[in-house]
């Protein structure tokens, strides 16, 4: 556990010393700031637009962080051969993978916390400038705590993406890993379509393939509750618990599969 902690902290340090990360966070915050201007163009919908854009920015820039840092965590160690020095220390191979994952999860958590604070700051500024009537007319308050539910699910989803990127990087090149991860991410939003594929096609083989893919690919759409939160629709505690549990199980399975491959790999 101590070994894992050291690797995680080093992984976190690697990420936070990467200038690309700061550019991504800065750009996301800038986008949230500009959402204020966009909000002014729509009558009465400004806060909704800002929340929608803010949460989307967190999800999109978080996705770039998860993929680009995730695929580099292992492949950089192998390409630059720093893995040689690391594996000569009393470290098990799966600890490297889990430590790297924990480090990036910590990085994502910190960055998403920063972006969330920036979003709340923009919303607070808008809410502060409103008169009492406008405030009462809103269905949802400016500083709605339910936004945190959407952020929590985005964070779990990004950790799934990190685990996918890490899994692919245990056996393929960084570019291929990035392509595969983005592919799985997009396919993850069409998971429900795969489930209903047997009602569309007659071929037994296609039905079996679609069903197989449905079980293997992640189902990412339940993690997107942005529109519910923005429109003040309820996101129940049960829904949150089940969705997070699904994410955690999926991450665990990917990490086990990745660790199994990584443990048998030759570092030529």
């Amino acid at each position: 556990m101590r070994t894992l902690g050291w690797i995680a902290i080093n992984g976190f340090r690697e990420s936070v010393r990467d200038k690309v990360l700061y550019s991504l966070v800065a750009f996301a915050i800038l986008l949230m700031g500009t959402s204020y201007v966009l909000g002014q163009l729509t009558a009465g919908q400004d806060l909704k637009i800002m929340k929608d854009l803010g949460l989307s920015s967190i999800a999109i820039f978080g996705l770039f962080m998860a993929v680009f840092i995730g695929i580099g965590l292992v492949s950089k160690e192998v390409e630059r051969r720093s893995i040689y020095g690391l594996l000569a220390k009393p470290v098990r191979r799966h600890e490297i993978l889990l430590g790297k994952f924990a480090g990036l999860a910590l990085t994502l958590t910190v960055n998403i916390a920063v972006m969330t604070l920036a979003l709340y700051a923009v919303l607070a500024y808008v809410g502060w400038g409103e008169n009492q009537f406008a405030r009462q007319a809103r269905e949802v308050p400016a500083l709605d705590p339910a936004l945190l539910k959407a952020v929590a699910l985005i964070l779990v989803q990004l950790m799934m993406v990190t685990a996918i990127a890490l899994f692919f990087s245990t056996f393929s090149t960084p570019i291929l890993s990035a392509g595969l991860t983005f592919g799985v991410y997009i396919a993850g939003y069409f998971s429900q379509d795969l489930r209903n594929f047997d009602q569309v096609v007659n071929s037994r083989a296609a039905q079996v393939l679609a069903r197989g893919l449905y079980y293997v690919l992640p189902n990412l759409s339940p993690f997107d509750v942005t529109s519910q939160v923005v429109h003040g629709l309820p996101v129940t505690a049960r829904y949150m618990a089940v969705t997070i549990a699904y994410g955690v199980v999926y991450i665990a399975m990917l990490l086990i599969a990745g660790a199994t491959i990584f443990s048998r790999r030759d570092f030529k």
Binding site: W6, R81, I83
Partner: protein, 311 residues
């Protein structure tokens, strides 16, 4: 004497090619033993299989067949790794860390307690000569400085066995001298040192035993004294005041006569010519003896001869 390293019929095949994969043998049934406390030189030309052997010992790659043991344990065993130090060839470390941060990180992985870690990191950085650059990020380090960091991290746990892959690589003459002195200090405190090198003079100066690898196969292994002690292959005779007619008369008895200036000549005398008789004949004509030395076979001669042999 316990063994620091042992390999038995250790073999590694790599797959090469993309569409039509073929097998290429990088290491072929290597069996060798290194006793604890000795400095062991692992020699061979490029592509001989030295780095593959080290990778197998550290479980960076897995063997196709055969087995290896480090400090009596299989490769990858954590208890053996705690007693092991390793310097990779042309080491690369995390360039976003400072030298001190890197050593602190590795000290943490080795399970050193905070106080011990701080003390050892500081002492080692001073010892390898980069104490004043401890807060500098590694991306700003030269190749030689990185090599020194690599040596420091290999010694963090005061190991019983140190594996050094080309430790002199990238070092200037002063750095090489420091590393040679360090290896001897490690030997004196009972640490086993296994190092691969292209620099045969280093191996000759430091090692008690060597193994020579060529094309993945062990071509020679043993004590340097056994390999080279009796291999006197001639004599080097330096004489002064030799007349030209005398020089012409002895031309058939020497393999080479090189004028050194000032009336001196260096004569290379083959084993077939007894040097005492030649010397007596020369001094009888008025020549003076300056020096007489045996020409021994060097490790380089031995190495070239063995490596050139058809496998």
């Amino acid at each position: 004497m316990p063994l620091a390293i042992e390999t038995i019929e250790l073999t590694k095949d790599y797959s090469v090619g993309f569409w039509r994969q073929r097998s290429r043998r990088a290491l072929d049934r290597l069996s060798l033993q290194m006793e604890a406390g000795e400095v062991f030189g692992f020699l061979g030309p490029n592509g001989a299989g030295k780095t593959t052997t080290l990778k197998l010992l550290l479980q960076l790659v897995f063997p196709t067949s055969g087995e290896a043991r480090i400090l009596g344990r299989p490769p990858g065993d954590l208890s053996a790794k705690r007693r092991l130090g390793y310097l990779p060839e042309n080491p690369y470390f995390y360039d976003y860390l400072t030298a001190e941060e890197l050593l602190t990180y590795f000290g943490g992985l080795l399970g050193l307690r905070a106080a011990d870690r701080r003390q050892r990191v500081s002492k080692l950085l001073d010892e390898v000569g980069i104490g004043s650059e401890r807060h500098l990020q590694l991306r700003k380090f030269s190749k030689g400085m990185l090599q020194r960091v690599g040596i420091a991290q290999a010694l963090l746990n005061e190991p019983d066995l140190v594996i050094l892959d080309e430790p002199m690589s990238g070092l200037d003459p002063l750095g090489r001298r420091d590393v040679r002195a360090l290896i001897l200090r490690l030997r004196d405190r009972g640490c086993s040192v296994f190092f691969s090198s292209h620099v045969l003079s280093d191996a000759e100066a430091l090692c008690s035993r060597v193994a020579i690898l060529s094309k993945g196969r062990l071509v020679a292994s043993g004590r340097l004294s056994d390999m080279l002690a009796f291999s006197v292959r001639g004599w080097e005779l330096v004489v002064a005041d030799v007349r030209d007619d005398v020089l012409a008369a002895i031309a058939t008895r020497v393999s080479r006569a090189v004028p050194l200036g000032g009336g001196r000549f260096e004569l290379e005398v083959p084993m077939a010519t007894p040097p005492e008789k030649l010397l007596a004949d020369l001094t009888a004509t008025g020549a003076r003896l300056v020096s007489l030395n045996p020409i021994r076979e060097t490790l380089e001669d031995f190495f070239i001869e063995r490596v050139k042999q058809p496998s």
